[in-house]
Subunit: 331 residues, 2 copies
DNA sequence: CTGAAAGCGCTTACAG
DNA sequence: CTGAAAGCGCTTACAG
């Protein structure tokens, strides 16, 4: 392994001079030495040792991406892949490295961040309850996404989940629907709850209701489609908390001999390309996942460069994308 | 930050004794000290500094996952997400950390591996040509997936892509099809080429042919569906190199007023859940992506524990999953 | 513009 | 079972 010392010896200078060249502090080194050193570095294939660098500077150029869960969700939907896929190049462009962690136990977070002296962290998924503890234990920039923690000084990039629910409800109502159901996955997550709340509040504001037994947890109930088909009070409109869920539901309903949107109308959430590939094309609430990821990464770097930057909470808009999965009912 | 030294001082022992406890070398420390030290560690919330550890031991517990491309492919299909989602928990269970790299320039690989003293690496995607160079430059275990490099000592976990093509061809022929097309994405990748080769060879062995202008690169041709519909010599059977591609194709054909499988029959590749959610349910060549990921991770750790382990090349089987996207043509 | 010294927090390799 | 010493490859903080 080639070290600074090796380069220094060969160039006839001290390690400090080589260190300055490696770190781009070129104004502090003579042109002659810069050139000589750069040539030797190239010739020898010198790669700086990041572990040594981190140890002595007490900080690393590692950004940790902390994903909630054991990976099951990661493999199932494109949401996490889109987030991570967007963040990685962003991090790399800035000369940083990305560590990926799956977290099922909050206590692991601080340990994983500290052991590598991570410079910043981006959280993907639901980390509502322990945000405060995580923040107390870590002094590096922590950017949450989709968090509904009530901690005041939190940096978060989220979307208007509530509005998503509102838009879905309004759309169903406009199309003449009068009976509704909500299907959520990971029902305990605030995101899923907010979408539900926006949906329910809006229905009620218009004089309709969402029966509590029409709110289904797709994670608990094995066959959501069957449950919906056997409602005592039948429904025509179903709002699903994700496109993935909506697409599965459409498929399951079809297997039960039901047609979408003729028997059941469905609105999804996310706006992934998938939704426009299926038949009927899925009406959905669109969120800009890539933008969310990019903003989260931006904020991390802003706070790394200027730790005094204020905590900011960003809420991205959502919009209804009307396609073919909601039928118009004449009233 | 709490260090070994702090713990040692508080326990009234040397850093070495603490170090032994931290590293689980409990047989070398008195029970009394073990207990005392463990309590202090817990009380102080001591977290070992991995950068210091790596520097002094000249090795780290980092596994690098190297993904080919700039992330575009990562965000588009569940393939990479499934691979990564499977590998992460596996790596974490063993007390290792995972770094994720997107690579568009081969030269970056060695630099990224070396700078962190990575202990091993798993490659996802096409790394055919530079395998030899990568191997020469790095002495840690390198596990490739889906590589068709001819380097002899390569560790690779792949699938029988050729057989996938064979199965698709046979199925089409059995169902009475006589005219064929192949749609591939990233046509330059060996994986896509092998699937094509198995398909073409089998067609020819049965007295049929695959015209070269019926081989389309989905990455280059904007509207593959339209191209297929305007073939001078029409086809009835289309083999797509991935499920994602097949699903898009079905959607595009539908937009052109064509029906699957009535006008065109389609076979995909991968066997993702998605394929059984759409209508018609997609007939496809199934590969066990999760298994591929797990085996790749297993091999990395086997070679870390025993560097003298022989290079092994594993080829997983594939199978045809018959669903509804291939029509029977009476002959 | 240059460099000598100290130190980051561990582990390795000994000695006892 | 225990510990003192040296060193991993850098950076920080000075001094000149």
């Amino acid at each position: 392994m080639v070290t600074l010392k090796d380069i220094a010896r060969e160039a006839g200078v001290s390690v400090m001079t080589v260190s300055r060249v490696v770190n781009g502090q070129l104004s502090k080194v003579s042109e002659e030495n810069i050139k000589k050193i750069q040539e030797i570095i190239k010739k020898r294939g010198y790669v700086p040792n990041s572990t040594a660098r981190s140890l002595s500077s007490k900080s690393s150029n590692i950004i940790s991406v902390i994903v909630q869960g054991d990976g099951n969700e990661f493999k199932k939907s494109l949401y996490n892949a889109t987030m991570v896929g967007e963040i990685v190049p962003y991090v790399q462009e800035r000369g940083y490295y990305l560590m990926l962690h799956f977290i099922t136990n909050y206590d692991d977070i601080t340990q994983r961040l500290r052991t590598w002296n991570a410079r910043g962290a981006i959280f993907i998924g639901t980390f509502d309850y322990d945000v405060q503890k995580i923040q107390q234990d870590n002094s590096i920039p922590l950017v949450f996404t989709d968090s509904y923690s009530h901690v005041r000084q939190i940096i978060n990039v989220g979307i208007d989940d509530y509005k998503g629910g509102v838009l879905a409800a309004k759309h169903f109502i406009e199309k003449g629907h009068r009976s509704f159901a909500y299907v959520g996955e990971y029902m305990e997550s605030s995101v899923v709850q907010q979408r539900l709340k926006g949906f329910k509040d809006t229905l009620e504001a218009h004089g309709f209701s969402l029966r509590s037994d029409h709110i289904l947890d797709g994670y608990i109930i094995k066959d959501t489609a069957k449950a919906i088909c056997s409602f005592k009070e039948p429904v025509t409109a179903i709002f699903a908390s994700s496109d993935t869920l909506a697409v599965s539901l459409i498929s399951d309903l079809r297997d039960l001999g039901k047609k979408v949107p003729d028997d059941y109308s469905i609105i999804g959430f996310d706006g992934f390309p998938l939704g426009s590939l299926i038949k009927p094309r899925l009406t959905t609430i669109y969120q800009d996942v890539a933008k969310k990821a990019r903003i989260a990464a931006d904020i991390v770097f802003r706070h790394i460069e200027d730790p005094s930057s204020p905590a900011e909470s960003i809420v991205l808009d959502v919009q209804l994308v009307e396609r073919d999965s909601v039928k118009t009912i004449e009233t």
